[in-house]
Symmetry: C2
Amino acid sequence: MITGETLIGSRDVTAPATFRAVDPARNVAIEPAFSEAGPAEVDVAAGLAAEAFPAYRATSPEVRAAFLDLIALRIETLGDALIERAMLETGLPAARLAGERARTTGQLRLFASWVRAGGADEPRLDSPLPDRMPLPRVDLRLRHIGIGPVAVFGASNFPLAFSVAGGDTASALAAGCPVIVKGHPAHPGTSELVGRAIRDAVQESGLPEGVFSLLTGRSNELGGALVADPRIKAVGFTGSRAGGLALCRIAANRPEPIPVFAEMSSINPVFLLPAALAERAEALAAGFVSSLTLGAGQFCTNPGLVIAIAGAGLDRFLAAAGKAVEAAPAATMLTPGIADAYGKGVATLEGSAEVTEVARGAEGGPNGCRPALFVTEAAAFLREPVLSHEVFGASSLVIRCAAADEMLAVARALEGQLTATLHLTPADHTLAARLLPVLEEKAGRILANGWPTGVEVCHAMVHGGPFPATSDPRSTSVGTLAIRRFLRPVCYQDLPENLLPAAVQAGNPLRLPRLVDGAPETSGEARP
Amino acid sequence: MITGETLIGSRDVTAPATFRAVDPARNVAIEPAFSEAGPAEVDVAAGLAAEAFPAYRATSPEVRAAFLDLIALRIETLGDALIERAMLETGLPAARLAGERARTTGQLRLFASWVRAGGADEPRLDSPLPDRMPLPRVDLRLRHIGIGPVAVFGASNFPLAFSVAGGDTASALAAGCPVIVKGHPAHPGTSELVGRAIRDAVQESGLPEGVFSLLTGRSNELGGALVADPRIKAVGFTGSRAGGLALCRIAANRPEPIPVFAEMSSINPVFLLPAALAERAEALAAGFVSSLTLGAGQFCTNPGLVIAIAGAGLDRFLAAAGKAVEAAPAATMLTPGIADAYGKGVATLEGSAEVTEVARGAEGGPNGCRPALFVTEAAAFLREPVLSHEVFGASSLVIRCAAADEMLAVARALEGQLTATLHLTPADHTLAARLLPVLEEKAGRILANGWPTGVEVCHAMVHGGPFPATSDPRSTSVGTLAIRRFLRPVCYQDLPENLLPAAVQAGNPLRLPRLVDGAPETSGEARP
């Protein structure tokens, strides 16, 4: 079922160079060999995508929605084979992967419903005013269309939900954009299975083959050629800060610059406010370590920073969290490279004279993530930029502040984040009200009394945030608002009715919610 | 009333170096001398803007709307002095400037009404599902906030509507972002008058002084320092392709890259379809030359390219248009630099072996724009990239196509445009239907039976388009949709009601339109 071929439109392509996935739990290469795609394959895939774009973007909301639904069904049809291959390639447990699959298919279906509800078109109509003085107002109608073929870079840490059929693919397809995925080389078999499911859906839906391609490979040259291709009009990426910035540079230096939506780096500060800490230090410690060690800490929203005011509450939290970390088992990390980077990141903290180790977890097998908890003083954190670098994995640093003002100073010194969390009781609200305006400028999502590792796929979610959390804080990579990154508005002035797209025709034949003269259209009645 | 000082918050700042405006109709420098701001002034203005941002973005929609309304009023209060100074600095006639002032104040008031209507916040709420299995859904609420201080570059060709209080300033202020304008050095007195009007409104509204600054100067160093300043979070620009791309590069190479919305270059193709041409060649010629020569052709939407199929209709059009161009008076251009560039652009067309001159207009005085009309064959246009370069001013090139397929080939070969226009009758609809999908991918606005020089400020307008018309086709610089360029979403998870911003509180105290679970909220009733 897994052939190792790269999927270019309807074609299975074999390249001379190959690579193999690694089973991180055993540190051994696994079969089969996968083709290393390169610039030649990018050229063919981009050509097919550009060819497919006019027909694909012209599909009705219903056709695109049915296509997204079918992709979800075809992924489910893959059954246990998908979960088993993903386990082998990522070291993630079956239950987590089954949950991630449900999230992935749910996400595709949510975008289907959003497209049906008019979330792609967002039409606006302004009524003509033929008698206006000194000049009449013309008839103006606006809708949104797909921006063009989109390049999506699969992430290593969500082999399903942020990978081949992940959020960026779902939102781009929903927007009417063909997608070329550069699959993450850590899970090429998982990628191929999902890629074939999407291709099946393309064919069953009667869509042009170029709507979807999957390029496999490990080289920076592959990704660079994809972003540089003039037929690509936007890029979605989830991964490292260095990788994201490299793609941003390539995109900005094209003859025609294009937007890159890179989700990169976040340490997700958690503020334990004094009354909450006094009331429930031990429960907070238990919740924190559970969030910290979930999935070996390999989440973009992993709580890598805890900020609290010195005192008995924080001492109790540290004692309890330390014990929980010591008791936490080592989990296999996704790749040898990630495990290596984790070891180096933890070593940097261990080697800092400013930082004290609170606890380490158990040693593990190959590529095991040994959880780590450290503590430092706020003054040291404010002085040492290295202490705010992301350590991808189950490592966190507690910042001890002398007083509330120092907690605010730490908040102000933070870089952009995906999330910021407050643990509080009503007695903490005054301090929380001081922190909130600062955190709103730092993070895309602000949580109270929860943990950031858990990203609901819905309409009000923001999985994004100021740089370096992402390259564009005006967007989200999770939730229906994500569709806007791949859409552009087009305005029609005085076009004859029979040449207008259905979304803006009189009588609203697609029954979309529309703005008329700036207010919601009150009915599906024909405009005068 | 005009002092030549640069306006940094509430301070009048005098710099040692100065420059003077030029009266283009006489080619003489005019008083007074204006301070040349530089990096030191950028530093102070950016510091004040960053300081003002938290308080300004936290203002209610009503406070921001009233502030925008007051700016409009204060501009009107300037009276004739504004029009007279603008005439002197730009060579534009009084009636045009009075119309532009009405557009500018109308635009400020439209954004005021849009902010009142919830266009900035765009709140979304997803209901918690405490009983959902396997995991409950948390309470999620989203609103949009300003991205941060915005740098706005005034354009030379709209000394009011795209300048100090122009569209970018209006949309950024509406979004809750402080604005630092780099005034265009061609109209510094006009800029100062409008800048002082905005400053008065800031003070009368009790807003922090850093909400607005106006930096005057001619140097690239000034603009570069402004875009590079880490406290600036987005840039709005209208001007040349070279200038826009230079700012894009500076922004992309910052440690924290930021979005640049540059409106740059467009030749605004006009397609004369065969039946329309046969029916009304002379009327089309009259309308075309009137649009071409309006304001010496100094519009981003000036019709610089006309595409038609060879035949008697086109011959009639060329004859009539040629006569109209010959009869067109020379109008003073905005600056000696623009007149010089116009002369060089026209000379390039005159010098091309592929191009034939149809007509030139009258010679003018200093910086006079002598209208120009040329014709070439489609095959030559497709071969010679220089023929599609923008000539800013009243120059246009007619492309003679052998047949409909060649017209389509020309459409496909176009770069990105602000507008594309079709002149057609019902007999042309079949050809128009073939052209439309191509033009939708090329232009932000598509017109039928009109002329592109006229941009309505409303909800359904798109003044934008694919590169090089702009640096980001997902946006518009005119109309209420422009506010989105300066907003970012923030999500609140499980926040206690009294810590939530009003826009997403239960009971909808601000009475904003909101999405609840993806559908419009049905009333202002409290959520459960």
